[in-house]
Symmetry: C3
Subunit: 152 residues, 3 copies
């Protein structure tokens, strides 16, 4: 079963990859590792809401933002590789959660990203993970995720 | 001399590796690199104290927490590899320190992790390092560490 | 054209690499990847100013600090490799910006690092990037950068 079929089964349509930026690339490959640049939960190029977990964002909204940022990362990966079938495994996921003082549920927010990766890639989607609370994130985003993928 | 003998000489007993978590793995390997997931200073599955450096934690407590989180990382590595003798070198250490406003001694906290790695692995334990101050960490932990190991 | 000539054309003199530190190394290599330790905008071993973006530092000062920290990273790379001509590409840049509450321009600060890398290495300087807002950084630095380089 191809990843495209799997995405269809899951009812997932990948967004357009975020626009290229002047001063860095959406991803960089070295050997079999593809490093995806930090992704925000942009929808059609902009954040639908800004702020932090523990103040403006509920846990549920944070989980959804982590999922959305991960979809953007997968969209970048597909653009780079031609097909997500070339992903042999997800290696490392970093989830950075904009955290108001006292918010310590970064792991549950990160599950929004982890669960998506596993639902799409199955066992190959299992990964090492880092979940952290950031003071602020670019544009006021609630979540930023980064991925290292092993690719064919 | 094996790493197990070295640990014994140092009076170090590795803890049980933290319990497997549903949505991510304790470590992921690609080629000769083993990425260890972010580790907290858990003792028997829980934090002994929560808070930040610069408020609830003294520097000495922070150093000890960094050391403890690193022991957990080594326990994960041993579980994955069968033996720590398969670690050919420590490549990168990330130390994330929950920091109250004005705390800027992240490097000294990180030394708790660095010194342990060098005492256990000798020259192979020397590593590139990143020390940062996080706004918050999962569960209210004072320190979270991550490791990339080069393995046989 | 060598990178040394390119640096000369750009009017850039690399600083001395930061002094070796007891408990970790300025860089660690595994295979073709060179991991550079987190670099601060030190000038002759010390910070010229401490504080955060959004309070003590203007955006322009932050951009300059990111550029300076990147020069230190390149100096470390040159020391490790003998020559920067051995850099085949810049793979990943992490830019950590000490951020006062409400500062969300981490990406523009990070451009100070990205633009330097591209001006020095050309297309090989293009990279995956992560820009984050840290609560605090070592010594009160406004910016800390880390690099992964692919090397010959």
């Amino acid at each position: 079963m191809t990843i495209d079929s799997k995405l269809k089964d899951l009812g997932i349509t990948l967004p357009e990859p975020p626009r290229p930026v002047a001063t860095y690339d959406p991803a960089a490959r070295s050997g079999n590792l593809l490093f995806i640049s930090g992704q925000l939960p942009l929808v059609e190029g902009r954040l639908q809401k800004v702020g932090k977990l523990g103040s403006q964002f509920t846990l549920e909204e944070g989980v959804e933002a982590a999922r959305r940022a991960t979809l953007n990362a997968l969209s970048v990966a597909k653009q780079q590789l031609g097909s997500l079938d070339k992903v042999s495994r997800v290696v490392r996921l970093g989830v950075h959660v904009a955290s108001a003082s006292g918010f310590t549920d970064q792991s549950r927010v990160a599950n929004g990203a982890s669960e998506l990766l596993i639902s799409v890639f199955g066992d190959s989607g299992r990964h090492a993970r880092l979940a952290l609370g950031a003071a602020e994130l670019p544009l006021g985003a609630p979540v930023e995720i980064e991925l290292i993928l092993e690719v064919e």
